[in-house]
Amino acid sequence: MSAIRFRVLPRAFPQSLNESQKRSREKWLTIAFLVAPGMAIFLIFLLLPIFQSGYYSLFKWNGFGFPKDFRGIDNYLDLAKDKVFLGSIAHSFTIMSLSLLVQLPLALALALLVGRGSLPGRQIFRAILFVPYIFSEVITALIWLYVLHPNSGLMNKTLGVFVQDFKPITWLGDRNIALIAIFMVLTWKFFGFHMILYMAGLQSIPKDLEEAGRIDGCNEMQVLRFITLPLMGSTIRLTIFLSVLGSFQQFTLVWIMTQGGPVDSTATIATFLFKYGIQRFALGFGSAVAVILFLLTLVFSIGYQRMVMRQDYELRV
């Protein structure tokens, strides 16, 4: 036995320094060879465009040919004064805060209801609740355009049946309501996604822990508060992360439903970029918006991962 093991070992440990160098060089060559295609795609299609945007944002440029009209940081100064842009940032933050305050708790509550336990027919509920997330954003937006139509929409018709003297609400035509209406649709669309994540989190909690709590005299609220929720911490932190990023980048749904209107009252950073950068043939200006959006999400991602999600990575290692 020992003789055999002795023969195997030297193969794993190089006998001379020379061989070790050679091996390590070979190893790195192999790694470089395997990584190169992926790295090339990453550099060309991800990193390069980011730097290009930074470069273009210093020009007044309509997108045709090469940028020539250098303007320094003028685009950024214009943005700082642009009420619509500041408004769009505010809207993005509003959507983000509402998501965290309404959408995630809703998803969590539903996950607790249908994710486990003895609710009859919970599989069916689970499937139904998850359906909105399966639709593409475009389909969702089109469906809700019909639902929220002021005269013939399902929403106003239904409310009209239940509320006496109901005056039709112009969901997407009123500057004070449109953003709420959009948020409502966003919630409808995305809570199912978070719900599924929470359900996965719930399933990974050992039953006996909660059982032990009950035996020790916890009531159900205490089990939830001190055992279930803390154990779902990593999932909750992840959904917050995804929700915040999603809110900042929201474009499709808003664009189809309102194009950021009426009068920019539902503009997000992304729709602002498209409308004022691309549609108006001002790609330098648009690039400046893109750079700001990029920095916002980058700072958040890195900061959040470093400070909040770090514990999750360490736990898993």
Partner: protein, 425 residues
């Protein structure tokens, strides 16, 4: 035996390999013409397909590939392919500032050599043709051209006890009030798309300032915050204050606007020559309001400097992308030939070619083509004539005026500020 088998396999393999190559060679025999149009309505879409099929049958060496896009989707997608330097061979174009911007970047092809002579002389809408070119170059041709005016529902007018169509702004406001009193939505407007609303402000500016005020401001000898432009906003505010539009009009799209007209739930809309077709297409019955539809020119503003016959309008044309082969231009010539124009006129087109004008039978459209041909000054839509950024400022600004969050003076000032940026020569 096994050798023979092997040979067969090899032959099959070679044949399979050669197949795609053969297919490519065959495709290369044909000249492919890519064509983007925005006629999404069924009869119009079918018409383009039919005449294209006929053309391909007669010219087997040409393969025309049609892409049908919805208006807004088309605009976004065209900008993208333009920035990539890869425009389609033929594409929808309204002429004016947007097209000129493409021309400056060398993204469209000059067809002046082909156009000169018989083809050019066949056009009756000369003013329109000029919008597709500049400095002796041409990048496209118009195939339908008309005027913006007020479409109205005769039955609803009668119901509100209105006997004559208004000719002055004061009379027009009276009509709006009467319709409102009768419980009818006076005006249909889908302001989400913004361009339907900008007609109102621009038409008032034309009536108030006329050709001179606009050209002065455009050539930077005058300004867009001059009196006629401020007053245009004031008159429009007067109208908006009467709340003549359907609830939630800021969130409705042009499709909703046309549907309200086609279903007879609103009495008027300010729109271009395509309106009757779109009303039909968007109505529940698919028929629109038929005989009840009437048309009158935009009312005159008392004391305004504009000629009462001045027209705001535009139409559709097809422009030629920079990579277009001569076959694409030949096909375009076919599309604007008298024969095709006559057949199109029976469906929805207001012919731009003189020899086809008599094919128009609809009385409303005959009125519009007359207004177009007789206009002493023809103003193309601002959002097409002006540089894109400035056109959008006008559209957005007018929306704000409708929403009541900007004063007429501030609106004019915003447009002037944009003009200073965009019109610097």
């Amino acid at each position: 035996m096994s050798n023979v088998k092997r040979l067969v396999y090899v032959l099959i393999a070679v044949a399979l390999l050669a197949l795609p190559i053969a297919a490519t060679v065959r495709a290369q025999d044909k000249v492919v013409v890519t064509w983007w149009h925005i006629s999404t309505n069924e009869p119009e879409k079918n018409f383009w397909q039919t005449v294209t099929d006929e053309y391909m049958a007669a010219n087997p060496n040409v393969q025309v590939e049609i892409t049908v896009l919805e208006n807004e989707a088309f605009k976004s997608r065209l900008v993208t392919v333009m920035q990539a330097g890869d425009p389609p061979d033929l594409f929808q174009s309204w002429g004016g500032g947007v097209l000129w911007q493409y021309a400056e970047a060398g993204l469209v092809r000059n067809i002046a050599p082909e156009l000169e002579g018989e083809w050019k002389d066949s056009f009756s809408a000369k003013a329109a043709l000029e919008l597709y070119g500049r400095n002796g170059e041409y990048y496209g041709v118009p195939w339908t051209w008309g005027a913006v005016g007020v479409f109205y529902n005769k039955a609803l007018f009668a119901k509100a006890g209105i006997e004559n169509t208004p000719t002055t702004w004061a009379e027009f406001l009276d009509v709006v009030k009467k319709l409102k009193e009768a419980g009818i939505t006076p005006i249909s407007l889908g302001e989400k798309d913004k361009w339907p609303g900008h007609f109102w402000w621009v038409y008032l500016a034309i009536r108030l300032g006329g050709e001179q005020a606009f050209l002065d401001a455009y050539n930077r000898t005058g300004k867009f915050d001059a009196e006629p432009f401020v007053k245009a906003g004031e008159y429009l505010k007067e109208l908006a204050d009467l709340q003549p539009f359907a609830e939630g009009f800021l969130g409705l799209a042009y499709g909703d606007q046309a549907a309200a007209m086609g279903n007879g739930t609103a009495a008027m809309e300010l729109m271009g020559q395509w309106a009757p077709a779109v009303q039909k297409g968007n109505s529940t019955s698919g028929e629109g309001i038929g005989e009840d539809l009437g048309w009158f020119p935009f009312p005159v503003v008392e004391g305004g400097a504009g000629n009462p016959n001045d027209v705001l309008g535009g139409g559709d044309g097809f422009s030629v992308g920079m990579n277009a082969e001569p076959e694409a231009i030949a096909f375009l010539k076919y599309l604007t030939s008298a024969d095709i124009q006559r057949r199109a006129a029976e469906i929805w087109v207001l012919p731009t070619v003189a020899a086809a004008e008599d094919a128009l039978t609809d009385p409303v459209l005959q009125t519009i083509i007359k207004a177009r041909n007789e206009a002493p000054y023809f103003q193309l839509y601002y959002d097409q004539f002006l540089p894109p950024a400035m056109g959008q400022v006008v559209n957005d600004g007018v929306e704000k005026l409708f929403a009541g969050i900007i004063t007429p003076a501030d609106l004019a000032a915003e447009i002037e500020a944009s003009a200073e940026k965009e019109l610097v020569k």
